[in-house]
Each structure stands twice: as C-alpha cells, then as structure tokens.
Symmetry: none
Subunit: 219 residues, 4 copies
C-alpha cells in the first residue's frame, strides 16, 4: 500500500487567500502591526528561532490572527522582507543625475546611510544576508528588486562621472559594488562589532568617496 493522505483531508482546496479584512482601515493597521512585530522578533532571534507566539503578543493580537493575514511563518517572513526595502529603491532611482557627480553619489550614499543603515530597515537587510541562502525565492526577489535596481542606478551615475572625467577609475563601471561595499561593511560592523569598536560609517563612506573621486595623476 502506498502512502496516501486521507482522502477527505486534502486541504489543498482552500487557497486561504489571506483576507482578514486587509482592505479595511483596521485590517491594514493590524497587518502592519504584525509585520512590525515580526521584524523585531525575526531580527532578534532569526527566522527559525522566532516564535509566532511572541510576534502575536508584540503585535497585540492572538496567535491565530496572524494566520488571517499570512499563510504561514515563511510567508510572513518573506512579506516582511518584500515590503520594507522596495519603496526606498524607487526614491534612489529617482535621484537627479545633473550637477557635480561627487555630490550626486554622496547624496546617494547618504540617503542609504540615513534611511536604511540607521533605521530598522538595516535589520531587514541583515535578515536577507543571514537567511537568504535558505530562502532562494527571497534572495532572488531581493536581488531583482533591490540590489540590481540600486546597482543599476549607481552604474548610470558612475558612467556619467567617467564620461565627464570626474571619475578616473573606469573599473567602477564594471564593479559598481565597489561603491557600496563600505556601506555593506558598515551594516555588518554595526550589527556585530560596534560595541567593541564603534564605526562611523558616514565618515568612512566619505573617505571612501574621496578615493573614488580622487583626481588622478596629471599625464
């Protein structure tokens, strides 16, 4: 006899469209409260160790309520990551490209430091770094909607800088990641080592940009 689920018990049927009144005023607020609480718990304990019980308590709802808004723990986690960063990417993409390049890239970096690194959104990125490998779909989403878009925007700026002669290192066009690397380093450092050796990420970033925009040797 082959293994087989009890016939009448196939629960596939209900798509369990997370409803729970997401459209109503209160529904949306509750959903947001749950996501908010979940960010705290996931950031503090990691995906596997975070308890939905705690998320519920923190959000001020009953445990079952979470399931009115999210299919399961994983869906809650993915939604959390999905909704917190994308909006800011749009802002970054919309940044103007005219004016001195140095100022543009600096604004880009400052925006990132101020609006992400120093907010709870930093935890979202840390979560992606920590759990991304176990959630390939999430890693892919993050790559396409956040990383790629941000890097593409950056690349465009760099390209202009190179054409204008403001940036001498053409390799930056191929490796826009080099611009962001100190910020990622800062994200990690502040998360893990800041209590041993505080790091002024903004200052480090300025030093970094000084290098990028360093006037080259006159030929």
């Amino acid at each position: 006899m082959t293994t087989q689920k009890p016939a009448g018990t196939s629960r596939t049927r209900r798509p369990r469209a997370p409803e729970g009144g997401e459209r109503t005023e209160k529904g949306a607020a509750r959903r947001a409260a749950i996501l908010d609480a979940a960010l705290d718990e996931f950031a503090a304990r990691g995906f596997a160790s975070a308890r939905l019980d705690d998320v519920a308590r923190r959000a001020g709802v009953a445990k079952g309520t979470i399931y009115l808004y999210f299919k399961d723990k994983q869906a809650l986690f993915e939604e959390l990551v999905r909704t917190n960063l994308v909006p800011h990417i749009a802002a970054i993409e919309a940044m103007p490209t005219e004016g001195p390049l140095r100022a543009r890239v600096e604004a880009f970096a400052e925006h990132f430091v101020r609006e992400v690194l120093m907010t709870r959104r930093a935890d979202v990125i840390r979560l992606v770094l920590a759990e991304g490998r176990r959630f390939p779909a999430l890693a892919e989403f993050h790559y396409r909607e956040v990383v790629q878009r941000a890097l593409t925007a950056l690349q465009r700026l760099i390209q202009i800088g190179v054409e204008r002669g403001e940036i001498r290192h053409e390799a930056l066009v191929r490796f826009p990641q080099l611009v962001m690397a100190p910020i990622m380093m800062g994200l990690i450092w502040t998360g893990l080592f800041n209590r041993f050796a505080p790091l002024d990420v903004a200052a480090m970033m300025r030093a970094h940009l000084d290098m990028l925009f360093a006037p080259g040797r006159e030929p």
Copy 2:
C-alpha cells in the same frame, strides 16, 4: 532543550569540559569529523535548524557521541567558528612588510580570497555574519581573534604605505575596513547572488587596489 539561549550565555573559555579523549589518535579524528560535519550542516541550514541527528550521521557517529566531545549544540557551534579561522590569521600577521606596498597588500588580499573566500572557511564567516548577533560571546571572540588582528595587521601595512608615500589616502589608516570591504561584499555576493550575476571577486579586488594605490595628482 529546544529553545536556544544564546544571548548572554558567554562561555568565555570553556574549562576543557567534556572532552572525549581528544588526546588519543581516534578521539581527535572523531572530534574533527564532528566539527567538519557540523560546518556543513550549520552552513546549509543555520544554527537553529541544523539537526544534531544529521551532524552525527554525516560524521559517522552516533548522536550521543557528539555530547562526549561537546557540551551541547551551542558549544559545538562556537567551537566550530573558533577553530576554523584563527590559524589563518597567524599566517596573515606573519606576512612580510618589506618590499613594495602594493604587492604586500595584494598578497594579503589574494591570500584571503584564495584561502578563505574560495574554501569552506567562507561559510564559517557567513555563519558568524548570520548568527553572530545571537551569540555575543562568539561575536566577541571573532572580533578579537580574527577581525581585530587582521585589521591591525592591515593597518600596519597601510601606515607604512602612507609613510613611504605609496598610499595617498591617509584616511585608510583610520578605516582599514575600507580595504577589506570589497572582500566582504564578495563573500556575501557569492553566497547569495552569484547565480543571478556572477562576480569575479579577485578582479574586483584588483580594481579596488588600483584605486587605493592610485597616484594622486602631482602638485
């Protein structure tokens, strides 16, 4: 026990707790096999989701045997992280400082890329990044024994470079992290996004060093 009680459980030095004949030939081999298997499992699933059952099976021992060599899951995890990187730091610290600085720093970076980034040791670092916050003692150990020592060695090189005039950006002395940032970026990228956009970390690092050592404008 199911709940992990990582935070604050600083097990600073483990007074050589239960050691299953670490001194005997076979004992040491078994211990190593367990650590090895544990690295695979922890890297693949994360600390909380890795099962000691799987570690045991992979190491070819019985589940109970793990407890002859390690106090508990957390001790196994911390030991794992403790033993895998420190030896390489010594090698890095021992690197010679004479000769052209560019070559020295490049050797430093190449060593890191070849001996860490492209080996299973990269997973150890990824584990520290992912779980470090939940294991303060581990983060502290990693900072003191790996990060700080590597950065200090690097800083010494940079200092020399600045004094000799080979490095123009003096800020690098204050932020030696800037040198390593692309490597960390590479570590993360290869772990998460390589399948979408492969990144040649060594090439990126070379481009990065080109910037660091860029001769400034002659006054």
Copy 3:
C-alpha cells in the same frame, strides 16, 4: 516570487525508516503496546479525534516514542488496521473443505464470530467501515487482503456445496456476500444498538444458515 520552502529545510531527505529498535525484544514489545493502545483510542474516538497523547499514556511511553516506531498518526492507524486481521484470514483460507458443507460453512461463520466479532478485532473492522472512505489506500488494502480473500474462500465452499446439491441457491456463488451479510449486520448492531436490543449474532447466523441450506421443495 513563487512560494518555495526554505532551501535548507527540505526534510524529504530522511526516509525516517521507523527504527526504534523494532528488531530487539523490547522494541517489538513497545511497538505492540503502542498499536494496542492506539486501537483502543481510535476505536473509542475515531481517527481524527484520537489524541496521540492518550495513545502514548495508555501505552506507557512518551509522546515522542510513538514517532520512533511510526511515521505519523496516519501510519500508526494504517499499520493498526493492516496487522490485526490479515493473520486470521490465513486461518480461514486454510479451513478444510471436505465433509458436509453445512458444517464447513458453519465452522467458517463460527470462527468469524468467535475470533473477530467477539474480540477487539471487531473494532478494527468497525474502524475500516468508519474511516475507510477517507483512507482509500487502507480501503484498498482491506479489500485485497481481507474481504476478497475471505469471500473467495467462501465462494469455493459454496461452489462445492452447489455441485454436491447441498446448496440449492446457485445465486450464492455470485453473491457470497449474502453469507456474510448477517455477520456484518451483527458487527454493526452490537456496536451501536446492543444496549437497546441485544442481538444474539451466533443464533441469527445459525438461522441464516438454515435458510441457505434449506432443502428445496421436492418436485
């Protein structure tokens, strides 16, 4: 983004071959104790409402122990049904066919009443009747290994009886179920209505056989 289980969490890997020392003396005893307790609980409350907690308590083991011997609740249930009846079918099939048919069939029926109907095995059949529809694999197993084999054995007897002229109703060859019908009726009745109107199933069965073997009108 498509739904997708966390990568490292694919639990498919372990076939979870129920081991738990089933081969050892004690292992087999424990397994039997669990099956025994499960029969009581499933019979009393039905599959869905039976609690593994109660099964464990009744079997004198911890809850987790059940999972050393059975994959999950359903596997326990199916195993229970699988192991309790088949052995008796062999006995029935082995019944001799020589001698007066009436005696043979009566022995067949008596065996069934005594060894099944009046024992806890009756509950196994009641469970199949009650839950079979929701466990198609189980229904199929029960049909092939119990019902079909028993009816085939019966049919052979009837065939002989018809050939010898001891049974006048040839339709019985086509509907051997008619022989068993009162026994099934008795099984149901004793399970549900006996407290309102006790039914002497053995006597009823004898009356039934009187009809089956009734000598026809002499022409």
Copy 4:
C-alpha cells in the same frame, strides 16, 4: 473548542433553542441549505474533520450564521441525521400489507434501495454507522426512530408471511434483521469497495429474497 464532547452529551430534545427564523420563508431555506451543505461535508470528511467554514461556504452563508440556526457543530450534525431518514420510515410503515407477501417485501426492499441506498441519504446512514458510537443520543434516536420502526414494520410483514405459509423460516420473525442484512452489506460495500468490485445490490437483494421465500421441502 477542538475537543468534541460527544459521548453522554445527550441533548435529548433540544427545547427549540436558537432558531434563526425557521418560520420565515428565507429562514427555513437557509436552515435547509446549511443542513444540506453539512451533509456533504460530514459525509466527505467525517464529523471531527469537517470544517464549519466549509459548510458555511458551501451553504453560501457566513460562518457565524450557522450558529443562528444550530447551537453548535454537534447539534448541526445530530439534526442532520435526525431529519433525513425519519420521513422515509413513515412511507415504509405505510406500505400496504395485503397481496402476495413476496411482492410486499420486495417492494419494501426496493423502496429502500431506490430511495435511500442510491441517494444521499445513504451517506446519512453511513454517518450513523461511522460516528454513532461517539454520539449515544444519536444512536438511540436512530435506533428508535429508524431502525426499530423499520424492523417492526418488516416483522409484521414476515409474521403475516409465516402465517400464510409464504415464508417457511419462522426464525425470520425473531431476526427480521436477516432481511435487511444484504442491504446494509450493500450500503457498506458501495461506500468502500465498489471501485474494486462493483456490486449490484438490487440483484443481490432479489437473490436474497429468493432464498427467504424459497418453498421448503414438502413433507
């Protein structure tokens, strides 16, 4: 609540508890729709596993609405069983007793096969068989209002048949169940085994009646 507390909860007569406008046109229609939907769900999944959510959806009402018409899940279930068979018993009791007995009993059986076995009412009986033990009040109701009345009516017919000499097996008076046994067998068989070996219940029943009315040996 998750635990069902069926046994002993004899809710003998329900003092017309919460009735959601059963008298109004729409109220009665809604109540009927709920009962109808409930039959489907209970038949498919069993009492414990059926979800009121699904019943509500199938009935086209909100979940809470069910509670306007029925006290709780159990009351809905019992009401369902109570209302579906009793009306047909009246029809059976009213069947005329004059004319050849064979025709009378055959009509009785045919009515049962056609009006119960081949309709959704068969599922109601299957539900009683499957769940009756856990709902003593229900079993008792079913016994008094269905089983006993049907058997009494049958017994009366048999009595007449015996007196008229149309039925030779006087034991049938004591065991009217023997007449119905093949129908119960058919009910079970069609529910569980029909896909493996289709059973023509009507034909089987005719063969059965042939035996019952078999003219005995002339003395």
